[in-house]
Amino acid sequence: MISDLFSMTVLVGILASGIRLATPYLYAAIGETFGQRSGVLNLGVEGQMLLGAFTAFYVAIQTGNLWLGVLSAMIVGAVMGLAMAFVTVNLQAVQGISGIGFYLFGLGLSDLLFQRVLGTVETVKGFPKINLPVLSDLPIVGEIFFQQNILVYIAFALVPLAWFVLKKTTLGLKIRAVGENPEAADSLGVSVARIRYLTIILGGTLSGIAGASLSIALLNVFQQNMTSGLGFIAVALVYFGAWRPFGVLGGALLFSLVNSLQLWVQVLGIPIPSDIAVMMPYILTILVLVISVSRVRAPSALTKPFKREE
């Protein structure tokens, strides 16, 4: 039965599932990468995703316009990011704790709105699959990569874009400087506060899209607590990816592929208890984390509030 795993149907299935599962992680983790590179740990990602998911769903169902749904999710995420930035930059609160606070706020508010405004689980017609011309006709590869919905394509396009911004632009340099040595950056005239506001708001915006990618592209429903810990995995993936967009991509794909692999393991009747199977992605992620993290260094100013010395 193990040999069934290597049939074409199964391999294509695993890869296509993995690509879809990785999508929300990519948005959230890339956003979180920007924040952490500038020295701010945002544990509120999950709450931002939930509010984004609800907003996108609600707006899409009311207006029938999916893009308006995405835009609203971005705005809600950005506002959450703005609040987080105020708390961490101006009030200099402990980042981990305030992030948890924002998570609980998002969890509670999205549930409240769901109960009051929607009242029941409904479905919406989400972003359709787009078969990219020519590419989607390619054997195997086409089915895996090029028959997905638009938000999946954008998520993957975001990775090189984020890499370019962080690595090749002045803005990226400023972000990294603020995260490594805010005092030095400040003395050179870079506004630490402004950069951190920018990255946290960007992170919130992307988390909002992450939520939208679930509620109006991949799943097309909204349910209470539907992200189910995804936002926290996304934060872990930033560490996993060593604060680099392509590292985050690798982590997101590894986690998602092992998750879809374990789904197939159960379907093919390979005799592994389901409890063990569902642990596989987590165990593997922890293992890789243990092996890899000792070799890379976190941004020096991560979680440290910046206070200008007079």
Binding site: D111, T123, N259, A277
Partner: protein, 340 residues
């Protein structure tokens, strides 16, 4: 740094004082409210997911609404609920609060609340508690237990699924391999295999009651493996139903009606009618028995009902077979062969 430490210590002390103050009114001496002789019968319920989850929590909410109507509205019976209580500690606090407020019956609707209830119930000997799904009353005489023989409806759904499939592959999406979810899935598999020996039932437990994304991907896996009929249980299956609809795969629901989500592909749902159990419990409380018994809803006592989707064109012979199966299980001529 030093200043910060003092602030922290001060906060801790204040926190300690506050929590001490709060705990006092809930002390064992003062928490024996007189049962409300006058006024409506008061029920409180604590549930793990939302009342509109189209599954486990909704089945209890719907039952309470139904009972309230039957008993004659708010003058005869009122109920309050705390839903979304997936954190057991929060749920325990809510259970204790409801008991202290003098509700006649406090329902802890989730097997994860058991050990909390075991601690709380003895402090409120005048209050009746109920919890499920389980058969265990802990031998405490103010706790009722209730459970669902979900394998029975699972079996009937499995019989129909095996009759309807053309690919001879069925897919099942489950949460965690335990409790009434496992019973339902095992019943479904048994029913399918008894009807059509060639049928292959693929089962996938995703390890979560809330991960809608993974449930959806589990359904995609079943579709890729050739399934043309699927079933699933617990609240995260809403993700799987979307995939079923997208791929024109038939769906069987359980716990509450899931027809509204995908009216074209839902064939039938096993509905939990907890009101059957609750009516008995409320009668017993009226007679002065506050607990110590356990109840099971099943097809025979009407606590489980197979509801066919009226908009789905179910072939006559399949419906007849399903009805025969239901009757067989009620009569005892058919056994699901599933035991816990």
């Amino acid at each position: 740094m030093k200043k910060l430490r003092w602030i922290l210590i001060a906060l801790l002390v204040v926190g300690l004082l506050l929590s001490a103050c709060q705990a006092q009114p809930a002390g064992p001496e003062e928490e024996e409210p007189a049962p409300a002789e006058e006024g409506p019968f008061q029920v409180a319920v604590v549930m793990p997911s939302s009342i509109n989850d189209l599954a486990f929590s909704q089945s209890m909410y719907d039952a309470l609404v139904m009972i309230q109507e039957e008993m004659g509205g708010e003058e005869a019976m009122t109920f309050d609920y705390s839903d979304g209580m997936f954190v057991v500690d929060d749920a325990a606090a809510a259970i204790r609060d409801y008991a202290a407020e003098g509700y006649d019956l406090v329902i802890a609707h989730g097997s994860q609340y058991g050990s909390s209830l075991q601690e709380i119930a003895p402090d409120f000997p005048e209050t009746s508690f109920a919890w499920g799904t389980t058969v265990d009353t802990f031998g405490i005489d103010n706790i009722f237990a209730y459970e669902a023989a979900s394998d029975e409806g699972g079996y009937v759904n499995g019989v129909m699924a095996a009759s309807l499939t053309e690919s001879d592959v069925l897919g099942v999406v489950g949460p965690i391999e335990t409790g009434d979810a496992k019973l339902y899935v095992d019943g479904f598999v048994a029913g399918a295999e008894a009807t059509n020996p060639d049928v292959q039932v693929n089962v996938n437990y995703i390890g979560s009651f809330s991960d809608v994304a993974l449930a959806s991907e589990a359904a995609n896996t079943h579709v890729a493996a050739g399934a043309d009929v699927m079933a699933g249980t617990a609240q995260m299956v809403v993700g799987a139903i979307g995939v079923a609809e997208e791929n024109d795969v038939l769906w069987f629901g359980t716990q509450a009606s899931q027809t509204s989500l995908a009216p074209d592909i839902v064939v039938a749902n096993q509905i939990y009618r907890w009101d059957v159990v609750l009516n008995e419990i409320i009668d017993l409380i009226g007679e002065g028995t506050l607990g110590g018994q356990s109840f099971t809803i099943n097809l025979a006592n009407g606590g489980e009902v197979i509801e066919y989707n009226p908009d789905f064109d179910l072939p006559e012979d399949v419906k007849d077979l399903a009805d025969e199966t239901i009757q067989g299980i009620i009569d005892g001529t058919i056994s699901t062969g599933v035991s816990e």
